[in-house]
């Protein structure tokens, strides 16, 4: 009898976990936002917003039951702007308390934008969820929300969706003003005095008076309604009088006069891919994706420009005082980085080992730091060390003072790059996918780097307003590190992503419906 009972007992007596496997969506989003008071983290798993303080304390931000969808800091990194959503169940039966209890036909989702200051929701703005991009006035107190069709469109819900709408949001109290500016607004510029916004949309450009919160001037870009003209790039002239607009697929440059309302057109030799304003010498720089040329508009009243020939086309411009740095982020066979001296109109060409994916300048413009992408996946057409370099990610450091460039090979794809200046010089802070170290590259001697050990692989880096940095790690339970770039000290806090992981999906705001 005992022999029969012992196996039975052994089967039931299992006080240890079985080797079960459970699959969950990510508990937190590693796209963090660092403000003065801490790091804000979107806990996607539990629908909470958590502030992780630099003193290693965690705090759930009360969003009145809403769940964060995406978030960003305002222009001054003083406030956090959180686009949130919450479920509404039209069925008011008392037995319905959870989201899953609500009949599908009665369930809908509302959206708004919460303005968070120092860990508290201080105001709410009625911003529709589909307005997925924001830009800020120079004083930082007004945001313009608009629909950027280059990004994913979230929560385009409700009986009416106005795709021609922009929304002016007062960030001090959340008041909003909706203005219809034309279909698919895609670019917003502000005059430096912050009184006017210029909004580009399909076939229309409007000037918005930000004090009156109304359209002051409207410029039709065509008189034929059958023709669609989509602005691709735009800048304000250095004196804020003219708006220079490049049009997709055409070689025309539109010049809109904001004082004497008029439109002029300048025929260019190519299709502009990027434009930038040089306030030092009051010039505008234009590059072309299909033409090896850079134009410098030196006189805006009647468009006088200097054309400089370069070896290969450039698609992007990075600006610093007195110089423009051009690179090509589209073509795999172009590896040039070109410095344009905007005073002498001379160019210097630097050739990186691989094509440039992105480029940053140090604040003083002394160095350009570029992420280089693999030239070919399998190294066709090259061999030996060339093939080794072509197949890998890289980092190029161009010394703008001594006119030289160094291309380094990276172990894996970069997940974050920040450029800082310290007393000892300029440095690049580089995070690589799967590498448990922060690479600090001395830009004066790029081959000499320092590896600062991290607790785990990094997922991204975010600059703090106080000059520090926050590193998000690849960690299911939540892990961020605070880096003091001056001392190299790193403090890590972990486990905040468990907040609310076992809470129920309670229907919020039932008493307000």
């Amino acid at each position: 009898m005992m022999r029969a009972l012992l196996p039975l007992f052994a089967i039931g007596c299992n006080p240890w976990p079985d080797l079960n496997e459970t699959y969950l969506d990510a508990m937190w989003n590693t796209s963090i936002v660092t403000l003065d008071d801490g790091v804000y983290v979107n806990l996607e798993g539990s629908g909470q917003l958590v502030r992780v303080g630099t003193d290693d304390t965690w705090h759930v931000v009360d969003l009145d039951g809403a769940q964060p969808v995406r978030m960003e800091a305002d222009a001054g990194k003083d406030r956090l702007l959180v686009h949130v959503t919450w479920p509404v169940c039209e069925d008011q039966s008392k037995g319905i308390k959870l989201v899953e209890d609500c009949p599908e036909a009665a369930l809908s989702w509302e959206t708004e934008m919460a303005i968070v200051d120092n860990g508290k929701r201080v105001a709410v703005a009625k911003v529709p969820g589909h307005l997925n991009a924001m830009t800020f006035t120079p004083d930082g107190n007004t945001a313009v929300a608009y629909l950027d069709d280059a990004q994913s469109i979230d929560n385009a819900s409700g009986p009416l969706v106005d795709l021609s709408e922009i929304l002016l949001v007062d960030l001090t109290n959340g008041d909003t003003s909706s203005i219809s500016v034309g279909f698919m607004p895609r670019n917003v510029l502000f005059t430096r005095d912050g009184t006017r916004a210029v909004v580009m949309s399909r076939s229309t450009v409007v000037v918005v008076d930000l004090e009156e919160r109304a359209i002051a001037i409207e410029y039709p870009l065509t008189l034929d309604a059958d023709i669609e003209i989509d602005p691709s790039a735009a800048v304000l002239s250095p004196d804020d009088r003219y708006v220079m607009i490049a049009i997709e697929g055409t070689q025309d440059l539109y010049k809109l006069d904001l004082e004497v309302v008029s439109i002029d057109m300048e025929g260019l030799e190519g299709v502009p891919s990027d434009m930038a304003t040089d306030h030092t010498f009051a010039q505008t720089i234009v590059v072309y994706g299909d033409r090896a040329q850079v134009d410098i508009i030196t006189e805006h009243d009647f468009i006088e420009r200097v054309s400089l020939e370069i070896d290969d086309p450039a698609t992007d411009i990075a600006m610093s005082e007195g110089q423009a740095v051009l690179f090509n982020s589209s073509h795999m066979d172009v590896k040039d980085i070109i410095r344009v001296d905007l005073e002498s109109k001379e160019t210097v060409e630097y050739v990186a080992a691989n094509p440039v994916q992105s480029l940053q300048l140090t604040p003083d413009g002394g160095y350009a730091v570029a992420i280089l992408r693999p030239e070919t996946e399998y190294g066709y057409g090259s061999s030996g060390l060339d093939q080794y370099q072509d197949n890998r990610w890289g980092l190029a450091v161009a010394d703008m003072l001594n006119d030289n460039i160094v291309s380094l090979v990276l172990e894996s794809a970069p997940v974050g790059l920040e450029v800082i200046e310290k007393e000892e010089g300029s440095f690049a802070l580089l995070l690589l996918d799967g590498v448990d170290s922060l690479i600090q590259v001395n830009l004066a001697e790029p081959g000499n780097y320092e590896a600062i050990e991290l607790p785990s692989a990094p997922a991204g880096i975010d600059a703090s307003p106080d000059g520090g940095f926050t590193i998000a790690h690849v960690s299911a339970l939540g892990q961020v590190s605070f880096l003091d770039p001056a001392s190299g000290d790193i403090r890590t806090t972990s486990g905040f992503a468990t907040s609310g992981m076992l809470t129920e999906n309670t229907l919020p705001r039932r008493d307000q419906e």
Partner: protein, 222 residues
């Protein structure tokens, strides 16, 4: 743990030869309908094992004290990159486990029906001590993420069962029993909070433990 339990099991038959006392080793399983257990263990059942001792306090009535413990857990895989074409489940994961210790005081009524078969009804007042643990292996030694949350809640259970006595010893003054019992347990939800990392305790969530249970045991009455 198994070794200890089996040693106790084998020792049970050597308990002193007196009257009106009982000792049993139990094992069983408790189910729960709370879907939040899915994150700990998908089948929402909590196994347990323990020890019960008791004494007769009246005709057919015994007062029992018991301790039971059980642990469930899983290896949790999370999808860290929603935009990825495939889910690299092995990249970001952690272990989760919950241990529930139950301290019970029970009253058991026995119907002396047949010499070897005894139906029972047992009512219990229980205090449950729940621990929720999560840990993540981080490559750098000393930087492992280890979290532990604790909750203590009251509960009660009511069950009915049957004891079978296959063996009498010491001139029938000692009975060796095997028993089965089933019933329903109701606990206040285990409420886990992080009290260390925030000025206001941060709510991790609750795990409800209401459901049917089954328990079988081997023991002795003497």
């Amino acid at each position: 743990m198994t070794t200890i339990l089996f040693s106790l099991l084998m020792a049970a038959s050597n308990v002193v030869h007196a009257a009106g006392f009982e000792v049993s080793l139990d094992t069983g399983v408790m189910g729960t309908s709370d879907e939040r257990w899915d994150k700990v263990q998908y089948n929402r059942s909590i196994p347990g094992a323990g020890l019960t001792v008791g004494t007769e306090v009246g005709q057919d009535i015994s007062l029992l004290a018991g301790f039971h413990t059980g642990t469930v857990g899983s290896r949790v895989y999370t999808n860290g990159d929603e935009d990825a074409d495939y889910v690299a489940w092995d990249e970001s994961n952690f272990h989760i486990a919950s241990t529930i210790d139950q301290y019970s005081m029970s009253a058991r009524w026995r119907l002396n029906w047949l010499p070897r078969v005894t139906p029972t009804v047992t009512g219990s007042a229980i205090v449950a001590h729940g621990r929720l643990r999560m840990d993540e292996d981080i490559e750098l030694e000393g930087s492992e993420v280890e979290l532990k949350y604790v909750s203590v809640v009251p509960g009660a259970s009511l069950g009915a069962g049957v004891e079978y006595t296959p063996l009498y010893l010491a001139n029938k003054s000692v009975r060796i029993n095997v028993a089965f019992e089933a019933g329903y347990t109701h606990f206040a939800p285990l409420n886990f909070k992080d009290r260390d990392s925030a000025n206001d305790p941060m709510d991790i969530g609750k795990l409800g433990m209401n459901g049917a249970y089954m328990r079988w045991s081997i023991g002795t009455r003497f």
